[in-house]
Subunit: 277 residues, 4 copies
Amino acid sequence: MLGCKLALKEDNIDQRTIINIPGGQKTVTIGEGHCTIIAGPCAVESREAYLEIALIMKEMGVHILRGGAFKPRTSPYSFAGLGEKGLKILAEARELTGLPVVTEVLDIREMEKVCYYCDIIQIGSRNMQNFPLLKEAGRSGKPVILKRGFAATIEEWLFASEYILQAGNNQVILCERGIRTFESMMRNTVDIGAVALLKNLSHLPIIVDPSHATGKRELVKPVARAAVSAGADGLIIEVHQNPDKALSDGPQSLTPDLFADVARDIKKLAQLYNKEC
Amino acid sequence: MLGCKLALKEDNIDQRTIINIPGGQKTVTIGEGHCTIIAGPCAVESREAYLEIALIMKEMGVHILRGGAFKPRTSPYSFAGLGEKGLKILAEARELTGLPVVTEVLDIREMEKVCYYCDIIQIGSRNMQNFPLLKEAGRSGKPVILKRGFAATIEEWLFASEYILQAGNNQVILCERGIRTFESMMRNTVDIGAVALLKNLSHLPIIVDPSHATGKRELVKPVARAAVSAGADGLIIEVHQNPDKALSDGPQSLTPDLFADVARDIKKLAQLYNKEC
Amino acid sequence: MLGCKLALKEDNIDQRTIINIPGGQKTVTIGEGHCTIIAGPCAVESREAYLEIALIMKEMGVHILRGGAFKPRTSPYSFAGLGEKGLKILAEARELTGLPVVTEVLDIREMEKVCYYCDIIQIGSRNMQNFPLLKEAGRSGKPVILKRGFAATIEEWLFASEYILQAGNNQVILCERGIRTFESMMRNTVDIGAVALLKNLSHLPIIVDPSHATGKRELVKPVARAAVSAGADGLIIEVHQNPDKALSDGPQSLTPDLFADVARDIKKLAQLYNKEC
Amino acid sequence: MLGCKLALKEDNIDQRTIINIPGGQKTVTIGEGHCTIIAGPCAVESREAYLEIALIMKEMGVHILRGGAFKPRTSPYSFAGLGEKGLKILAEARELTGLPVVTEVLDIREMEKVCYYCDIIQIGSRNMQNFPLLKEAGRSGKPVILKRGFAATIEEWLFASEYILQAGNNQVILCERGIRTFESMMRNTVDIGAVALLKNLSHLPIIVDPSHATGKRELVKPVARAAVSAGADGLIIEVHQNPDKALSDGPQSLTPDLFADVARDIKKLAQLYNKEC
């Protein structure tokens, strides 16, 4: 991994990148000493529903809102998001709640638009080695959540971040969301060791997505607690008013009540570890 | 998994198997509401060294001692343990410290001997589907730590426990020790989601081995914390006075000082989760 | 897999898509009854070298030339191809040899250019679920070689092809290039069973890339023979005049002499299986 | 892999272990220059059925009979074989057909019995690292088929063979039977590259089990052909008079008619590769 020049800590220096997210009412910080909670539905499904859940998230102490406007779907016949309309709803939710918003960018031709409406851009698992997209995200200057490819080694993941860093953007947040293994009882296998390892190797913040990592609502809480205990700097969690009716990822989405319970637990843990939450 | 009759919880009943380990000065309990710490060197290397580390472990609040007398080694040319001599040292350490001892049984023909000297028998990863050994462990009546095969599905693991349970022994403790994936920067990938899932599916206690799960000393603490936060009922950790000189698993063994730090953290977490530790 | 409407065979019909590649001196066919050999260097490194190897390939009976102009590299510091200059060299090689050429498209914004200069476009492993790119490849109307993602299930792969098919382009050639497993002695694990399974499930042609599948020159011949014996409709093989000096994938590249030996063997096998080669 | 002293070829010497199996009417050879076919049902289910299929196999040119007397089953509630009664039926089938017989040994305490009745002993996947069993197989002096563990690296597999070789028994036949990956449409992923690699690295013969490798009857023929083309020295194939009624592995068992077709193809391939079959 010698070739990885920017993503690794320099020898013997406990260097840490702290990222400040503008856009909302007050700046939100991601990085060492913080436990940042990002939450919201998998996809923006309608204006009404999104604004409603956004307000609920705000009340529950969430720091950043999530919501997909462009959804990468295995099948071309599945719901692929509201597109630009979804971006506008996200921007409206930010106005309403004062919270910054994050959404995934799928198509390099929509990078400008996504940057215009949102505060953090997310590069999803399937695009972790979409190198033109990484470079463009680097040029955008926006904070980037870089999800680990579901079969990417830690080395490849760091090199993917290097593409963004090298383009002059040092605001990269790594996101572990589970890797693919032979185990089929969960959607993915969350690699909690990777979180711990990366806190040692890299100065970049790392967060965990316990929703995609397990694919099961009832596992979100224990895995979220495990993530913070392993050193994660934050969480990204799917919440939906009515998961059974969700257009995507229903089985792994929490109801607001279940989420409130997770958030309480996480805040207690953050206190134990002297992290702001 | 319908065929798995004994290892699963019955519907709607939050059934929990609590295992009491006799043998030491006082009974040690493994199961819901407890966070049991098992520690010691990978292998029993000599009488002096083992008795010394055993006393240190006792002082640091460890509940059960570990130490291998029969070591399964990839190469026939590696150190394979002291055999019966090792078992006798383990029994002596129990006398000295008042703590129960656990060791791995490799050869079905040595089952009686292992049961004679030790308080808990361990079935290792490589033998998770050694069915004659499982049945014999079932007949032994001793508490059994059943490690997950490094490529075993959760279903296969539960069925392996079923072999022991069906032979009339309900004292089975599951142990997650990492699975094999494409990631090569750690020895294994600890499947923290499996811990959470099994707490829902099965009434059996489950512990985690953060030493084998990562293969790296510096990751033992964060992974141990993650394990307890995901719901694990205990930990099994490798500790060695001089890891650099260890005859096996040196890179993942903690020094006593490092272990003391881990133990402190775990005790705090146990308190947060209302677990005895 | 019910949702996969276009890539699967209809029940009880031994439907087969046969793809005719124009562009060269004579039309080249890929599909049932043929064993099509695609060969050339990993990357187009210089005009002189490429034209030289192209002529050698032509003499050795190769049907289609390969050569990367845009290379997806794990590290941003590795050679990433000659870009448009490489495309022009490919077009010149087609003029010179009369053979059609295939190259990978990485960036959706370069789709038109790649289609202008080349006869087949390749979507690489890392982009197998780059959905905007798939749709654009669908709209292009060009024959597309769709490589399997290195951790993609067969179902996901077929759904990826469905994105191209649904956009109105039925000229899709699947390419198995090895999947990622725990085995580290080879670059990938070639999934020869998937080749056999897909010949049953889908009407699309399927070829195998024994070079990436193994990462080792000495394994290209046995794996190429295995692929054809499992039912593959063709092969794509890396050949370089001087593999030790190759700017990418040297260890898996054959010298022309070694390639000639593989080609002889494949031609014999094709005869045994009544395939044109 | 330097520690592996006996299983590897010495540098620059194309050393090959050829194993002669006595026991039948005429000696059967496994190793370079031969393509040995082992066939029969997964388990010996009854005397009548086994003797019948044994005669059919004999007629179809099979060289060695297979049949399980002790079956390793994931669930303790599944059919586990006829035990000693099964061994006697195997011996009777040998008398009847003049073909040597192979069966799996599961329990080290039954090693003598298995050696008494059978000509080759098989160590199954789940026992690949059952080191006491390996050593005992080494001491037995019988030819041993050593199946690859379904998540064993090639290095671990060679080291497992080393346990047998080191105990003084050089009659080891490696058997690739598929590894476990994320792909769920087949029972396992046959690692055809490993066959090719091992022909380079080791002097031991290697055979392939296309039945377990795929778990699907219709894939046995293409995978068997691929195996021989990759360099395998033989095949072990499951055949059953009435697969739908088989007590184990029905979906992957061939009917005698389907097997006859596979055998014809394999004999043609063997001829092409100048192998006796």
